[in-house]
């Protein structure tokens, strides 16, 4: 109903063409992308009737429609009335797939904004909408963020229809259901909830529907708008909603009984429930042999610990617990620290913040000058800072290993969590040493155990421990042996195989 207030009109179409035209033009504020084309339609009694066609430039391709309209000079002489003419035109002339009669301005605006062309004749209070929609969008490309060595190369696009088709192609089964809703009072963004009807956990699906229904927002431009509304707990650095731009990941998740939320206009699809271990799994884990995948997965967990703990451990050990270092290493570290003016914590902070700045810069800056930034970054942050005596060489190594380990995580948002935690732990390490670090770790573990994603404990299948799900948690055993779906997700059918 907001459309009416925005357009300042209401109700049904008028039979006077110029009144309708005036209302439409007023509603769009005479925007130049609204194209208005007048024509004359001839009736059998020899009179000609004023007619008009509207469409939005760039959203529709009305060439065929215009050709059919003007091919015979608009003369369909066997029609005696305006209604007859429209009906004849609709059933015999038009070649486009979807054609519909409209009676209200609301319908008209929706169709017009969806790329349809609207045809109206003087003396008729109904309009004809013709599906001349033409989508101008990025074609299907290889995903940029979640790339793999082996595996499908296609990624989602910004067009919802193409994305659902990609999913349909992966799961060629009528039990793959999409539920479509429109979110955003102004943007009217289409949001589709996808699930496999025979597998999805009903409780999770109800939760998704309920939470989506409660969203009150003017615009949805990316799936994160929805993510922030539907996530269980907002006060946590850990993501409780998974996002991916890979159709194969979504298909795999749907087969496990998860629910996907697809938003028109973004290639990133949300998956719920999202568990902690899911963020350490890459789709490639299933495209490489099980032994290799298991090792890589363990490596990712190790990298997560490195990314969160290395600087705090370094600070704690080098300022509180020097007795833990091998003697020769202590000489080395001590000689490097000679002449460094700051405490280890400040030193670490300088390097970490510098690195964060460099990373942020390299994400935002134009690609053409990326080279120069990386040169400045390596030279300034690496060698020069050490030579200038601002930081010790060991600290550069610590920060580098932390940074590299952070990029091992396949999920970017879990990497962000690691970054946030890292700074907190560094502060604890500087104040209390390893005692503080371990208190921090305990607090984080408690927090992780308190989290839930759509009713599923975040740390499952580790806490609560589910033996069967261990086949695909830390380890990834051979696919023929994964006979069951993850029990922690409560799928309708547990058995994967017969």
């Amino acid at each position: 109903m907001t459309n009416q207030t925005l357009a300042g009109t209401s109700g049904a179409l008028s039979s006077a063409l110029n009144i309708n035209a005036g209302i439409i033009h007023a509603a769009f504020g005479s925007s130049p992308d609204l194209i208005h084309r007048d024509f004359q339609a001839s009736l059998s009694n020899g009179t000609s009737v004023e007619g008009a066609v509207w469409y939005i430039e760039g959203m529709s391709n009305s060439t065929f429609m215009m050709q059919s309209l003007f091919s015979r000079g608009g003369s369909h002489s066997d029609c005696s009335t305006v209604e007859e003419w429209i009906l004849y035109y609709k059933t015999r002339v038009i070649t486009e797939g979807s054609v519909k009669m409209l009676h209200t301005f609301d319908e008209l605006y929706d169709k017009l904004l969806d790329g349809h062309s609207i045809l109206m004749l003087e003396g008729s209070s109904s309009a004809l909408s013709v599906a001349t929609k033409e989508v101008k969008a990025r074609s299907v490309e290889e995903p940029n963020v979640q790339s793999v060595v082996r595996g499908p190369r296609e990624g989602f696009t910004e067009v919802l229809g193409w994305n659902t088709a990609m999913l349909r192609r992966k799961i060629a089964n009528p039990t793959l259901w999409f539920e479509s809703t429109t979110l955003g009072t102004v943007t009217k963004t289409t949001v589709a909830v996808a699930y496999v009807k025979d597998l999805v956990a009903p409780a999770v699906l109800d939760q998704v529907r309920e939470r989506l229904a409660q969203i009150d927002i003017d615009g949805v431009l990316e799936s994160n708008y929805i993510e922030e509304y539907i996530q269980d707990k907002t006060f946590t650095p850990f993501p409780t909603v998974f996002n991916t731009e890979r159709p194969d990941v979504v298909a795999a998740a749907l087969l496990e009984g998860r629910v996907a939320i697809m938003v028109d206009g973004t290639p990133f699809v949300l998956l719920v429930p999202a568990l902690f271990t899911q963020f350490f799994q890459s789709s490639e884990d299933y495209y490489q042999r099980a032994d290799f995948s298991t090792l890589i997965r363990l490596l990712r967990f190790a990298a997560f610990f490195l990314a969160t703990l290395t600087p705090s451990f370094y600070i704690a050990i080098s300022t509180f617990h020097q007795e833990m270092l091998p003697t020769t290493l202590l000489y080395n570290l001590a000689s490097q620290r000679e002449g460094v003016p700051f405490p280890a914590f400040i030193e670490a902070l300088i390097m970490e913040v510098t690195f964060e700045i460099l990373r942020e810069a390299s994400v935002r800056m134009p690609k053409t000058i990326g080279q120069s930034i990386s040169i400045v970054g390596t030279l300034v942050v690496g060698q020069a800072a050490v030579d200038a005596g601002l930081v010790s060489a060991a600290m550069v190594i610590v920060v580098s290993i932390t940074a590299i380990a952070n990029f091992v995580l396949p999920a970017f948002n879990m990497g962000i969590a690691a970054r946030i935690i890292r700074f907190g732990l560094m502060l604890l390490a500087a104040s209390f040493g390893l005692y503080g670090v371990f208190l921090g770790i305990i607090a984080i573990v408690l927090h992780l155990c308190s989290l839930r994603s759509f009713g599923v404990p975040y740390m499952s299948p580790m806490a609560p421990f589910i033996m069967g799900d261990q086949k695909d948690t830390l380890f990834r055993i051979a696919i023929p042996r994964m006979k069951n779906r993850p029990r922690s997700l409560h799928p309708k059918k547990l058995r994967r195989q017969k």
């Binding site: 939760q207 001590a334 104040s431």
Partner: protein
């Protein structure tokens, strides 16, 4: 479902938590460049006061690689005297540039006077201090003060204490004639009634003054050498006397701390010597009666060298070689045990301990074990096994005479 963060409620709690961090004041924090790493410590006694020397590493000089090495010495030794050891260490801070950090102590040298006067008093501080680990070696300086030993430059390893540490470790692993004693071992032995402690001895060969300059480390043939030489036997916490190399080896055999050693015995039936490499050894003390013991030493050996004509392919030769080794080992053990019974009059082997364990009733009747030990009968028995003969069959001597 929408859940708003309850920041209004969380904020005060978070603030309080954050305040904890600065309030803690980084207690006991010391940056790496605020500490002096003590690697060696010497304790002497002079005029009734403890004279403590601490060897401190200058890390920049130890690890400097690109600037061509510094002109400063890699270590500095400070000395201070005090009524007690902590007193002396506290007084040392007026000389040393930074806080003394004791966790990385590699070696603790006790002067002979301290050793003879009783080591329990200085050891109390050493075992009580929370910074000190227990993995450093304790040694006794022979014919020199502890500070003189610490003042010597060492070739190859720029840190003398480190050199002393590794020297002791390697020699103990391959020769087993020195014995390495760490703090926990020493305290254990000190608290035992039936086993006296024994500490490694270090000796200085050459003029002490010549070794104090860095130039002494530039000679190919060093003017002064620090050498481990046997052990010092202790009766309770007082040193009873020196044990020579042979005694130390026997002690290591009997208390099962031999890792690997070399044994030389005369050739069976002809002139010349045979060397054995002892790879495994296991000794057992059996108490037969309160004053009668039997030591059985099982060893496994390789033949390392044959210096005479021997047909080693003949099985009887091997048994003769085994017998020669047994005789040698038994002679060594007999000699040392007699020496400790008659001369030093202290049981460092743990015979009393064996009695305590195997016959506690009899043990509790004994008042002064060391006196009983003097007259105890000890039978020794060696059971050697020769495992390998090496990569040649005939000896070199044999080859040439053909």
């Amino acid at each position: 479902m929408m859940r708003k963060p309850r920041i209004s409620r969380l904020a005060p709690a978070l603030l309080c938590l954050l305040l904890l961090l600065p309030l803690a004041g980084c207690w006991s924090r010391h940056e790496l460049n605020d500490i002096s790493i003590v690697v060696g410590m010497g304790i002497d006694k002079k005029n009734g006061r403890y004279q403590v020397s601490a060897q401190i590493v200058n890390p920049g000089q130890v690890t400097q690689k690109k600037n061509g090495g510094g002109s400063f010495s890699p270590v500095v030794t400070y000395q201070a005297s005090g009524l007690t050891i902590p007193d002396a260490l506290a007084r040392m801070t007026v000389k040393a540039a930074r806080d003394l950090y004791l966790s990385h102590l590699r070696i603790l040298i006790l002067g002979e006077e301290i050793a003879r006067g009783g080591i329990s008093k200085p050891l109390d501080f050493i075992s009580r201090n929370r910074e000190l680990r227990t993995d450093f070696f304790l040694i006794v300086a022979k014919n020199a003060s502890a500070s003189e030993i610490l003042d010597m430059y060492s070739p190859i390893d720029p840190i003398p204490s480190n050199s002393l540490f590794t020297k002791l470790e390697t020699s103990d692993n391959t020769w087993s004639a020195t014995g390495k004693v760490t703090l926990d071992r020493l305290i254990q032995d000190l608290s035992k009634e039936g086993k006296g402690p024994a500490l490694t001895t270090i000796e200085l060969i050459g003029k002490p003054q010549a070794g104090e300059k860095i130039s002494s480390a530039q000679n190919i043939n060093p003017a002064v050498v620090l050498k481990y030489d046997g052990m010092a036997a202790f009766k309770y916490d007082r040193m009873a006397g020196w044990m020579d190399e042979n005694d130390a080896r026997v002690l290591n055999f009997i208390q099962n701390s031999t890792y690997m050693t070399t044994l030389t015995a005369p050739c069976p039936g002809s002139k010349g010597l045979v060397s054995y490499q002892v790879l495994r050894s296991k000794a057992k003390i059996r108490s037969l009666a309160p004053d009668e013991f039997e030591v059985v030493l099982h060893t496994q050996q390789d033949i390392a060298d044959i210096g005479c004509r021997l047909d080693i392919t003949d099985p009887s030769t091997l048994s003769a070689l085994t017998k020669a080794a047994d005789e040698k080992l038994e002679a060594m053990m007999n000699k040392t045990i007699r020496k400790l019974q008659k001369q030093l009059k202290v049981d460092v082997f743990g015979f009393g301990d064996a009695l305590h364990r195997q016959n506690p009733k009899e043990w509790h009747k004994i008042k002064d074990w060391n006196r009983e030990f003097e007259t105890a009968k000890v039978k020794v028995k060696s059971v050697s096994t020769i495992r390998r003969i090496g990569t040649t069959i005939k000896s070199m001597e044999d080859e040439i005479k053909k």
